[in-house]
């Protein structure tokens, strides 16, 4: 069952339709409701390996629906601590719960000051309005 449109408070957003939940020098990252809605039901998550490095604004994986594939952009730089195996096994989890069970990676931030460049909820909603 697809989730209803929602952009929670308390997350940081990236204009490429990614979110990050910051916890000290770690962050959990995923894609927003808008991103999963645009793609449709996901059938594949081309996941990176734990231990790999991700770079802010660069692709770290791909999500695919029947019709289309899209890069997933890292909102922040760091090292991957964990990949969400539930999404690897059942990619539609992202459609069902994009901010909860449908998270994609957990990272250790290499430069926590990068967080300041991310969008808050209001700024991200402006991005959605303008797109």
């Amino acid at each position: 069952m697809a989730a209803s449109e929602d952009y929670p408070e308390g997350l940081k957003y990236h204009a490429e339709h990614d979110w990050a939940r910051i916890d000290g020098d770690e962050a959990v990252c995923g894609v927003t409701w808008f991103a999963q809605e645009a793609l449709g039901e996901l059938v594949h998550f081309e996941a990176p390996e734990a231990g790999a490095t991700v770079t802010k604004d660069a692709s770290y994986g791909e999500v695919e629906s029947v019709k289309a594939v899209s890069d997933v952009i890292a909102p922040l730089s760091g090292e991957i601590l964990e990949v969400n195996q539930k999404v690897v096994e059942a990619p539609e989890t992202v459609n069902e719960d994009p901010y909860g069970d449908g998270w994609l990676i957990r990272i250790k931030l290499s430069d926590p000051t990068e967080v300041d460049a991310l969008l808050d909820l209001g700024a991200y909603k402006q991005v959605l309005e303008d797109s």
Binding site: G40, V43, H44, E62, V66, V69
Partner: protein, 352 residues
């Protein structure tokens, strides 16, 4: 092409009102999905779905020499069908390449209806018009009609239509709308394609949806046809690919004379250098059109199969690597992914 120059079918307002996602396709603004590709795909495999395929072209070929004209330009043998029957066939060029693949419906010996691909409507019409014989006339009537594909194991039952043999056609009525009922389709399921006057399109659509058909978009149409290995013109077959290499030799009556037949006989005799094969992915990966197959091959169609829940596709490979069971390596955006050649179709409906 800017959106305002895209063509719209008579059902465009219905699609927009239903919240369909509309995309450009072959010069038309068409629904790619309503609720989602996967539920729509499943509806067709298990029950019944309806597709607006009014963007396809309808060409009437009429006159005492209509049959002779078509016998000379179409690959299949129209002598094999009678009035009220239909035939899958190819419009071929001098090189044996495929100008279009289409279905010819025989109304009577002096009247055939050809339903052609949307993207080839002009090319097919021009091709035929140039070759008109004295006593035959080709007319593009595409704008006069709407075409609805109602597909799935319960399609005919839901529409209250009698069962009929595949590749037959008859006039019928659905929801008070008169339509040509064609027992043809592009999904590998039972069902029909209903052709009605453009002004009746909304009434027919409403009746079909009210009968329980799930509105489906081009996304599901593509995943359904690829599971059953029906070729898509522009992807799997083109003016530069021939029927023998594409595995469509069965549509070519090589004993008769038609455009390109000498070249097709030569390819048949020598054996094609490459073949269009079907494959399934051995790893979690989705093949896509244009990806390279190691050893000199190319993916021509690829998707995630909702029925099999794995990546599937078709592509050309050297003939020596075309046997089912052959292992292929496909470059999926920079990563080598294993696939295996499988017999066509990839998915086969269980006989009931």
């Amino acid at each position: 092409m800017p959106p305002d120059t895209l063509l719209k079918t008579p059902l465009h307002a219905r699609h927009a009102a239903a919240g369909a996602r509309l995309v450009p396709f072959a010069g038309w603004e068409m629904p790619v999905q309503y609720e989602g590709v996967i539920p729509e795909h499943r509806a067709v495999r298990t029950d019944c779905g309806v597709f607006d395929v009014s963007h396809m072209g309808e060409l009437h070929v009429e006159g005492p020499t209509a049959h002779e004209l078509l016998q000379g330009v179409l690959s299949n043998d129209l002598e094999r069908i009678g009035d009220g029957e239909a035939q899958y066939t190819l419009l071929t060029n001098e090189r044996g390449g495929i100008v279009d693949d289409l279905i010819a419906y025989r109304v009577d010996p002096n009247h055939y209806l050809l339903i052609v691909n949307a993207g080839n409507r002009e090319a097919a019409y021009a091709w035929l018009k140039e070759r008109e014989l004295r006593g035959s006339e080709v007319r593009d009537a595409s704008d006069e009609y709407a075409l609805l594909a109602v597909q799935g194991p319960r399609a005919l039952e839901r529409l209250g239509l009698p069962d009929a043999r595949p590749f037959t056609h008859a006039m019928g009525e659905v929801g008070g709308v008169e339509a040509m009922v064609n027992r043809t389709g592009y999904t590998g399921e039972e069902g029909c394609e209903l052709m009605c006057a453009a002004e009746d399109a909304e009434a027919l659509w409403d009746a079909v949806v009210a009968a329980g058909a799930v509105p489906c978009g081009l996304g599901a149409r593509d995943s359904l046809r690829l599971e059953v290995c029906y070729p898509l013109h522009g992807n799997d077959i083109t003016p530069d690919t021939d029927a023998i290499s594409a595995g469509l030799g069965w549509t070519c009556a090589l004993a008769k004379e038609f455009t390109g037949v000498e070249e097709l006989r030569r390819i048949k005799e020598a054996g094609p250098e490459r073949k269009l094969v079907a494959f399934t992915m051995d790893e979690k990966a989705v093949p896509r059109q244009g990806m390279t197959i190691a050893g000199g091959g190319t993916v021509t169609s690829g998707t995630h199969s909702p029925t099999l829940d794995q990546g599937i596709g078709m592509g050309y490979v050297p003939a020596a690597r075309a046997a089912p069971g052959t292992e292929l390596t496909i470059d999926v955006r920079g990563k080598d992914r294993a696939a295996t050649v499988v017999p066509k179709p990839i998915y086969k409906r269980e006989e009931s």
